[in-house]
């Protein structure tokens, strides 16, 4: 990244936890995917999760909005614990925004309709107000002029920025990103990362699964390494990159930074 901003220059995280994972375990059948995961994310904090493929990163962040269900331990989001109670799950999903690797925009709706769908049907905002809100966020991701187009008419980078705007329209307390740039052509990665850096600078609470180490260095408060369903190491970016403690972290960094 060209900007000189670093974590140190950003506002210090407030103390209230937005996401709390306490002793979380999950199994896919007999396969133990998440093993005793503990993680607290405070308001305004930005966490980057990295790690080898199959390490359970996606599974972990998908548990936070209950797209995947955990079997043991506690997940508390914005003070609401995820249990089998559907009301609570709905409540949590309203407060958590998610951006996927494959964008997952709704191809039959225009960009604007993609953004207003949840505000209208979940938040019950009047249409005009929802559209105003959507335009505000589309401006923030720098594509207000594409509002009337369909997702299929946009480039990958533009689609991912729409996906970010769509999630932001719900005013989430925390944004989850699952490898938001891995499906993009190299020349589009920057525009998406820049948008995410701007969000970070605005104090958005973010949990980002990513292998963009430049991004992690620039905006993360903490970098977390996950492997075999466990948190292997978590530390501030300078420490994490310059003085990795765990063998697996060293191995991972040597592979990814080459």
């Amino acid at each position: 990244m060209s900007e000189k901003t670093t974590a140190a220059a950003m506002p210090p995280p407030a103390d209230k936890p937005v996401v709390e994972l306490i002793g979380v375990h999950k199994w896919f059948g007999a396969f133990h995917v998440l093993r005793d995961v503990n993680l607290t994310v405070r308001r305004g904090e930005r966490i980057v999760i990295a790690g080898p493929s199959g390490g359970g990163k996606s599974t972990l962040i998908r548990c936070i909005n209950a797209i995947e269900r955990h079997q043991q331990g506690r997940i508390v989001v914005n003070g609401v614990e995820l249990t089998s109670d559907l009301k609570r799950i709905d409540e949590v999903r309203r407060e958590v925004g998610m951006v996927f690797q494959q964008f997952n925009l709704f191809p039959h709706l225009t960009v604007l309709e993609n953004c207003t769908l949840a505000p209208i049907w979940v938040r019950k905002l009047p249409k005009a107000q929802a559209e105003e809100l959507a335009m505000q966020y589309l401006k923030r991701v720098h594509i207000p002029e594409q509002a009337k187009k369909y997702p299929g008419q946009l480039s990958g980078g533009q689609q991912q920025r729409v996906a970010i705007a769509r999630a932001l329209c719900m005013n989430p307390k925390v944004m989850l990103f699952d490898e938001p740039t891995s499906a993009l052509d190299p020349e589009m990665v920057k525009e998406v990362l820049d948008t995410m850096v701007e969000l970070a600078l605005d104090g958005t609470t973010m949990i980002v699964v990513s292998h963009e180490m430049g991004f992690a260095r620039q905006v993360a408060n903490r970098v977390v390494l996950m492997d075999e369903g466990q948190i292997v190491e978590a530390n501030a970016p300078e420490e994490f990159f310059n003085h990795p403690q765990h063998e697996r972290t060293k191995l991972f960094l040597s592979q990814i930074l080459r």
Partner: protein, 389 residues
């Protein structure tokens, strides 16, 4: 010419083009109608043979059809004598006076003559409803839907079966017949089977085991049984279990049978469409906080139905033609009225049956072709809306 030759690209030497080459028209053999014929009909020996054989076939069938329907056809007359072959007239084609005379019977069945205006009003109301719903640029399509799904069924029911309180005398459904019955049965079948099919398809993918089990059993049971059996069960077996005066009307029973039967097929068609939707769409909708029904109604079904339109129309066309089976349980649909009329001694001639069947064929073909064209139009329109995926 030498100057031109000097301009040619000799790839084995270093070459720099001095003048660009302008676009030329294609050679004569590729142009005009002759070029088209060559490319499409006479491109090889096999194609030439095929073209000639097909042409002969088309001419032969076309000529016999036109001869039968128009050239040799009888246009006026009062009974069978007009349509009989004789010394002066060895070739007799379609017997149109028979159709003119029986046209009302084909349309209304035995519906009492003074009451037939009610059927006409019904046809008109239905036509308005269908046009309003299918014409995508029509004004107030929300009102159109309300009209089609609420106003129309209620009004049609009152109008057709009668309401003594409103001065409309009761007409027993056993008197209904012809196009009226065909239209009622297929419209009800189509209009009920689509939503019911969607619900069953969603049920089959439901996370609740009881719902899923019910849907699977229903679909697999109905698909495992021929429509004729369903109709027989509805008309013969139901009265055995239900007391006489509680047994619903015969036409109603057939309607229910057909609607349920069609729903099972529709459910499988819709399910195929649901399966074509990537999991990410469900996940994105879930992550946004949309609950099951809004998620289905706003995100999944619009996409699933879009890819399923050709199959839905295909099923609908099948259903439309399958409605002719109701004659088995003694209901007089169009085909049945033609069947009855063609053996009427008054018109009994060798050409009466072919004429009647030609009318039936024309009727079914016009409706089915219209459905197919409309589906094609919808597909093109929808795919134009959103260019690449």
């Amino acid at each position: 010419m030498t100057g031109v030759a000097g301009e040619r690209a000799y790839a084995d030497l270093a070459f720099v083009q001095r003048a660009p080459i302008g676009a030329l028209p294609p050679p004569l053999a590729m142009r005009g109608p002759w070029g088209w014929l060559r490319a499409n009909l006479f491109s090889s020996a096999f194609n030439i043979v095929l073209t000639v054989v097909m042409l002969a076939l088309i001419v032969w069938i076309g000529k016999s059809t036109i001869d039968f329907l128009f050239i040799d056809a009888v246009w006026v007359g009062h009974d069978r004598t007009a349509c009989m072959a004789s010394e002066q007239r060895p070739h007799v084609g379609a017997c149109w006076p028979f159709v003119w005379e029986r046209l009302n019977y084909f349309t209304y069945g035995s519906y009492p003559i003074p009451q037939r205006w009610r059927v006409d009003v019904f046809f008109a109301m239905l036509a308005i409803g269908v046009a309003w719903l299918l014409w995508l640029e029509a004004p107030r399509r929300d009102l159109g839907a309300l009209y089609f799904f609420v106003v129309l069924p209620v009004c049609s029911f009152i109008l057709l079966s009668g309401a003594p309180a409103l001065g409309l005398e009761t007409v027993d459904t056993s008197l209904w017949g012809g196009v009226l019955v065909t239209v009622v049965v297929s419209t009800v079948g189509i209009v009920v089977s689509l939503p019911l099919g969607i619900v069953l398809a969603l049920g089959r993918r439901s996370r609740m085991p009881a719902v899923r089990l019910f849907s699977v059993i229903f679909i697999e049971f109905v698909r495992g049984v021929p429509l004729i059996t369903v109709l027989f069960m509805a008309s013969v077996m139901l009265p055995l279990f239900v007391p006489e005066d509680l047994t619903p009307d015969k036409l109603l029973r057939a309607l229910i049978g057909i609607a349920l039967f069609a729903s099972a097929y529709m459910a499988e068609v819709v399910r195929a469409g649901l399966q074509a939707i990537p999991r990410g769409q469900y996940e994105a909708a879930t992550a946004l906080g949309l609950k099951f029904w809004p998620q289905m109604g706003l995100v999944i079904l619009p996409q699933a139905l879009r890819v399923t339109i050709p199959n839905i129309v295909n099923t609908t066309i099948g259903l439309f033609k399958d409605t002719t089976l109701v004659f088995i349980v003694g209901i007089f649909d169009l085909l049945r009225t033609i069947e009855v009329a063609r053996i009427d001694p008054k018109w009994a001639t060798p050409v009466t049956s072919p004429t009647g069947y030609a009318v039936a064929a024309l009727f079914y073909w016009v409706f089915c072709y219209a459905m197919a064209r409309y589906a094609r139009h919808m597909e093109l329109r929808l795919s134009a809306g959103q260019e690449r995926r």
